[in-house]
């Protein structure tokens, strides 16, 4: 396993694409979060709203770049034919696939932590200037606050789960463009679909099974009872998606001709 991990890490760090995608992800996440927090102001006491969740809005954009990186880790090899070189060097396919998953998790966790903490910091600074001060009852965002800590750590976990879900789908589909299409559809189309559905039961169900709508429940810090799922259960749904696609992708990688 160690040589396989070393090989995958060398692959990731010796082309510019992954680094730029991760830097782009951090920039996009922080920028969107900062943008979302800068449009709200508070002039009275009790402005309401979930400011923690608001400061983590950027994750909804950053996840797209995480998904693209994850897809390229395996589909990129299929399009060039390099997957054959990889599997010739590492004929134990489960090990080769696990090595890809682990290195991807590692880099996404590091970049995700930077992006999420950056968003939180930006939110803290911007919200303070926009009247969300301790005086009207809005203490600054802080990781010492239980729900905020959970939302922050959960957002980082969420990004790594999206990476694994994307890796799994790419291993099943093998084509980069198709994989990215499917993943973006799963993430962004399901929430839109749930909005246009008239039936409230169907709406709730879609929100509960969508990997993004369910998973991002982890960012909520207020009005938890109105969520379609509790925060950890929601993240559990995303984890379920990741596990299912990883297992399916891994099995297909083992049985299919390369």
């Amino acid at each position: 396993m160690r040589p396989a991990l070393h090989a995958e890490w060398t692959k990731l760090r010796t082309v510019a694409g992954p680094l730029w995608l991760l830097l782009g992800m951090i920039a996009a996440t922080v920028a969107l979060s900062a943008g979302a927090t800068s449009v709200v102001t508070c002039t009275s006491a009790d402005c309401g709203g979930d400011v923690t969740r608001l400061s983590l809005t950027g994750v909804q954009l950053g996840q797209a770049m995480v998904a693209i990186l994850a897809v390229l880790v395996i589909s990129g090899e299929y399009s060039s034919g390099m997957i054959r070189t990889t599997l010739t060097a590492m004929p134990h396919r489960a090990t080769a696939f696990a090595a890809k998953a682990i290195t991807l998790t590692g880099v996404v966790a590091v970049a995700g932590t930077t992006a999420v903490l950056g968003s939180l910091l930006a939110g803290r600074l911007i919200l303070h200037r926009h009247g969300f001060t301790a005086a009207p009852g809005h203490p600054a965002l802080s990781l010492s606050d239980g729900p905020t800590l959970r939302a922050t750590a959960g957002s980082i976990l969420y990004l790594t789960l999206i990476a694994l879900l994307s890796l799994g789908i790419a291993a099943i589909v093998r084509d980069s463009a198709t994989s990215i299409g499917i993943i973006l559809g799963l993430l962004y189309l399901l929430p839109i679909l749930s909005q246009v559905i008239g039936n409230p039961h169907g709406q709730r169900l879609l929100q509960q099974i969508g990997p993004m709508s369910a998973g991002l429940a982890i960012q909520a810090t207020t009005n938890l009872h109105s969520l379609p799922l509790s925060p950890w259960a929601g993240l559990g749904v995303t984890a379920g998606w990741a596990a299912a696609t990883l297992v399916a992708g891994g099995l297909l990688l083992r049985v299919r001709d390369a």
């Binding site: 040589p3 890490w9 010796t14 082309v15 070189t85 060097a89 004929p91 134990h92 390369a258």
Partner: protein, 311 residues
């Protein structure tokens, strides 16, 4: 090394309606270059993918020094292979491409620089492989195959895209690998590319090995005791020799190929009948002839449509 390099036995594989491999069997021995020739679609690349465990077969076994590929712990130190020189990330440098491969086998970076020098890519090693010519990519692929210093080397069409200098280099290189005691399997759809390099030939056609023999034996068999005759009185000579029981065929404006009679008897018969001739020599087939003869059926089969061909 007593176990033969590669032993392929009874491989059978079907892709949908096409039978890609139909009982492919052969052995690649250490110390010689084995040429793996046959028309496109004869099953050469499929066989190589099966040997490397990339494709599964319906039947049969492929063993490297007695073991299936997937059971090899650091496979690149058992078999070095080059299937597709274009199969790399275009924006990764050649050196980094070899580096990740080395890391996958627990090999040090020092080994990467050694193989880069061995194939003559030192000055280009830090350039992006996407900018390489096909000939340079072939060299890079050879470097990858040598990385683990394996006793078995397997290359699919390594001459593709090489300039004449590269082809000469490749031939010498393959021979030196065999001289070091390695088993070397080299595929090509052009006999001319392997004829000066290979000492043993596996000829593939329609998914099986239709010949598996030494180059000298194949040429002797194809020559078949025929005699080439040069004469200006072709018609007369053919009449005389056919009368004596030989099979004759005009092969040129003043050349005739005779089989069924030894050369000295032909000279005697022609002299007795006062037929003028300028040259009598034992006909020696070329490898190209051998190849044409062996693969004719396979090529015809592929050219024809599945339904009856009108003649």
């Amino acid at each position: 090394m007593s176990a033969p390099g590669i032993v392929v036995a009874g491989l059978r594989k079907r892709y949908g309606a096409t039978l890609a491999l139909d009982g492919m069997s052969f052995t690649v021995r250490p110390g010689v270059v084995t040429g793996f020739v046959g028309p496109n679609g004869a099953g050469k690349s499929t066989t190589m993918r099966v040997i490397l465990g990339l494709d599964a077969v319906d039947e049969g076994t492929a063993l490297i020094e007695g073991k299936p590929y997937h059971s090899l712990r650091h496979p690149l130190s058992h078999v070095g292979s080059l299937l597709d020189a274009a199969a790399l990330h275009p924006s990764r440098s050649a050196r980094n491409h070899l580096l990740w491969l080395a890391h996958s086998q627990g090999l040090a970076a020092r080994r990467v620089d050694q193989v880069i020098e061995q194939v003559g890519l030192t000055s280009a090693a830090r350039r992006k492989a996407g900018g390489y010519s096909l000939g340079m990519r072939q060299r890079l692929g050879i470097a990858a195959a040598l990385l683990g210093d394996p006793p078995v080397i397997m290359l699919d069409e390594p001459f593709n895209g090489m300039d004449p200098d590269g082809i000469i280099w490749m031939r010498g290189f393959l021979r030196s690998l065999a001289a070091q005691g390695r088993a070397v399997l080299v595929s090509s759809h052009l006999m001319s590319e392997v004829q000066d390099t290979a000492a043993h030939l596996v000829v593939a056609g329609r998914g099986k090995a239709i010949a598996d023999a030494g180059v000298a034996d194949l040429i002797a068999a194809a020559s078949g005791g025929r005699v080439a005759l040069r004469t200006t009185a072709g018609a007369h000579a053919m009449r005389v020799l056919a009368h004596a029981g030989a099979t004759v065929a005009a092969t040129g404006r003043d050349t005739i190929t005779v089989s069924g009679l030894p050369a000295d008897r032909i000279v005697m018969l022609l002299s007795e009948s006062a037929v003028p001739f300028s040259e009598v020599s034992a006909h020696r087939a070329t490898l190209e002839d051998v190849y044409q003869e062996l693969t004719r059926e396979a090529v015809e089969f592929r050219a024809a449509t599945p339904t009856e061909v009108p003649r």
